[in-house]
């Protein structure tokens, strides 16, 4: 089992943070190996190969101009480069009345995120209505109801298997009548490659736009930080389908870094609005590029 033994050894190395790895790198001097390893560090945070190459390229460039003096210098440089990329996507100001529609593949944490978002807006002294438009997954509406109770907000739901657009229609009508500040629409998890399910999403999108044109409509893609490069494909296709306004990055409390958002911000210019860091109601924070970068480097 030589193969496996060596891998586990190598993995232990990744768990040390980048700074200490860089220290080791420096002791061996700066050469091609140095840049290769720098690239590997970024890739092991799920930053795409292309983006990692670009980042390392920028640092190489910098090194040519100015001698890379010490570890701190490179660490800070690395952070700056990543932060700059993250800031390329502009975070929108949230205006009310607002409708949020959360979309994403199965199991990324949409329903939990909605519970947390509801709580977030309640704390901002906004009135909130949830729309249980995941009528597909078994007990999804029940799950959302528990969150609505916890956050003490209203919920509009229909029977399992009913038309999700009808739920959206009812929730929006009710919100208009009651002057609700925020409507949050839960949608069924769907793989982005399933055309019929993506069309269903477009229908819900149209219902909101048509029935509630005065609202500010934010379509957020929920991405699981544990995901790898497929996140790029998800973002691209969901963006093509409903024109995304932002991303919620969930499960950042694990050991995964979610580095793919660097590529997303840089290439697709879709900003990250919130990050989820646990299963409790308060485990949701607005995205902070600096903090996120600290997590990677």
């Amino acid at each position: 089992m030589g193969f496996f033994g060596k891998i586990i050894g190598a993995l232990k190395k990744t768990r040390d943070n980048i700074s200490s790895k860089l220290a080791a790198l420096f002791s061996r001097g700066i050469g091609d190996d140095f840049y290769d390893e720098l690239e590997e560090i970024l890739i092991s945070a799920d930053i795409s190969v292309t983006t990692a190459e670009e980042i390392v390229g920028q640092i190489r460039e910098e090194a040519r101009r100015e001698k890379l003096k010490d570890k701190e210098y490179v660490v800070n440089l690395l952070k700056d480069v990543i932060e700059d990329i993250l800031n390329e996507a502009e975070v929108p100001d949230i205006q009310y009345p607002a409708v949020f529609m959360l979309v994403g593949v199965n199991g990324v944490g949409k329903t939990t995120t909605i519970g947390k978002l509801a709580n977030y807006f309640v704390k901002e002294k906004k009135s909130v209505t949830l729309a249980a438009a995941d009528t597909f997954r078994a007990a999804a509406a029940d799950q959302l109801t528990v969150w609505a109770d916890r956050a003490k907000v209203r919920i509009v739901k229909h029977e399992e298997g009913s038309d999700p657009s009808a739920v959206v229609f009812d929730a929006v009508s009710s919100a208009k009548a009651k002057n609700t500040d925020v409507v949050i629409v839960d949608t069924a998890g769907r793989l982005h490659v399933k055309a019929n399910l993506m069309a269903e999403l477009q229908k819900m999108d149209r219902v909101v736009a048509r029935e509630y044109p005065e609202a500010h409509f934010y379509k957020l893609l929920v991405l699981d930080a544990t995901t790898g490069q497929n996140a790029l494909s998800q973002a691209k296709i969901f963006d093509e389908t409903v024109d995304l306004d932002g991303i919620v990055l969930t499960k950042l409390d694990g050991t995964a870094k979610g580095g793919f958002v660097v590529s997303l911000c840089g290439e697709l210019h879709i900003p990250v609005l919130f990050v989820g860091t646990g299963e409790k109601m308060d485990d949701l924070q607005p995205f902070d590029a600096e903090e996120f970068t600290e997590g990677i480097v």
Binding site: L11, R15, D46, A138, T226, G254
Partner: protein, 438 residues
């Protein structure tokens, strides 16, 4: 699709680069392997797993095998592919069965991996095998998780054992006793999704394990998982010594490199894959198909299946030999056209071939009449001309055109096409059992 260029395109690029050069130096293999490395990383294979893999394969390739081979490019990819398959293990979709029933299956994994749905799928599968499974609701944390399992169980027609939000350790124990007394032969315990670094919840799993002594501990992993898959798999395996892995959500467009990473760190077999939301969407794991997927080699297998219906083994073998000896002639070319016709049109076949997307072959390019014209041109050649098209000079071309009722341009076009096909076939022969090349 994905933002990066497709792997099959990259690999085909390598193919063409390698094929053109004939013999390879170590440096050239190294260059090619860099591309393979990128390909693996873009498929989410863990970087250390990828590095080790590349090193192993390079060692095999750089030595005698590649340098002595007549088709070095194909040989490299053949080795890469074979090593991938070997690493991922043999096909093994069997579940352990306890000597004394009930067999206990414990499900575990991160949040959102798809455990609850999978429980339903497994229960249905077992039911179809004339077993009597019992589902156990051990996720007491996620809101409505118990209800979800009940709905899933209802769809599968399998009873769900639940004791509300009491300790899942206790529930699991009671469920096994219940199963024993009620004649259930398999107990599937659903558990809450948990982070591998959540000490309290990992302890809970260990307690369930101690209490019910499962025959199978199945780790459920989302096929879209990235670099972190190794940490997750390694931790779960260390704490529970899992007996197998199930990959879910393979109906997406993920390359599923996590599969290789998990196999590399746990060494445990991948027993099933989830390929959809329906309860019947559970399939055995085929390492060869997974290898093609990770490498982005297209749906080579279904192509083979189709081809085998149309081309006899004998014909295919002959063709491969010709290719290897670079003696593929116009006569073979003609034969191929006829085989393709039997396989449902060239466009369909091409669409299944890896890296063929950019060739943009339209069905109309290969209509019947054109095939007939090609046939006429080839049949107007002498035997020598068919075997050695390079001897066809302009006076021969005139004669062929006249004989086949076409013009010199048509003859030129055919010869050019034939040359391109020869190059292309060299490129796509991956060493797997590709049709009419083997």
């Amino acid at each position: 699709m994905a933002l990066f260029s497709s792997l099959s395109e990259r690999l085909n690029h390598i193919f063409s680069k390698l094929t053109k050069r004939g013999k390879l130096t170590e440096l050239e293999i190294k260059t090619a392997m860099r591309e393979v490395r990128v390909a693996l990383l873009e498929a989410d294979v863990n970087i250390f797993v990828a590095k080790k893999f590349i090193a192993d394969v390079s060692a095999k390739a750089v030595g005698q095998e590649i340098l002595q081979s007549l088709n070095p490019a194909q040989q490299v990819i053949k080795i890469v592919n074979e090593e991938l398959i070997a690493l991922m293990g043999s096909s093994n979709a069997k579940l352990e069965v306890a000597d004394k029933p009930p067999t206990v299956i414990l499900m575990c994994g991160l949040q959102g991996a798809g455990k609850t749905t999978l429980c339903g799928k497994l229960a249905l599968l077992l039911k179809k095998q004339n077993k009597k499974p019992l589902l156990v609701a051990g996720d007491i944390y996620r809101p409505a998780a118990i209800h979800q399992l009940q709905v899933v169980g209802g769809k599968a027609g399998v009873e769900v054992f639940e004791k509300g939000t009491q300790s899942p350790v206790k529930t699991a124990k009671q469920a096994v006793e219940y199963a024993r007394s009620m004649g259930y032969d398999t107990v599937i315990v659903d558990t809450a999704g948990r982070l591998h670094i959540d000490e309290a919840l990992m302890q809970e799993l260990e307690n369930i394990q101690k209490e019910v002594q499962p025959d199978e501990i199945l780790l459920t992993v989302d096929a879209m998982t990235g670099q972190d898959a190794v940490n997750v798999a390694e931790t779960f395996n260390k704490r529970l010594s899992v007996t197998g892995v199930i990959l879910t959500k393979l109906d997406g467009d993920t390359r599923g490199g996590a599969c290789l990473s998990i196999k590399a760190v746990t060494g445990k077999p991948i027993k099933f894959i989830g390929v959809g939301e329906k309860l019947t969407d559970l399939e055995p794991f085929y390492p060869d198909r997974m290898a093609s997927r990770i490498l982005g080699m297209g749906d080579v297998l279904s192509l083979i299946e189709k081809a085998q219906e149309a081309v006899t083994e004998e014909q295919a073998k002959k063709m491969e030999k010709k290719l290897r000896e670079a003696s593929f002639t116009l006569e073979d070319y003609l034969e191929q056209f006829e085989s393709l016709k039997k396989m449902g049109g060239i466009a369909q076949v091409m669409s299944m071939m890896p890296g063929m997307g950019k060739l943009k072959i339209k069905e109309s390019d290969f209509d019947e009449r054109r095939v007939e014209r090609i046939k006429a041109i080839i049949l107007s050649m002498t035997k020598k001309e068919r075997e050695k098209p390079e001897i066809i000079n302009s006076s021969r071309k005139k004669r062929i055109a006249a004989g086949s009722g076409t013009n010199v341009q048509d003859v030129n076009q055919l010869l050019k096409q034939f040359e391109q096909t020869k190059v292309m076939m060299k490129q796509i022969r991956s060493g797997k059992r590709l049709p009419f090349m083997r």
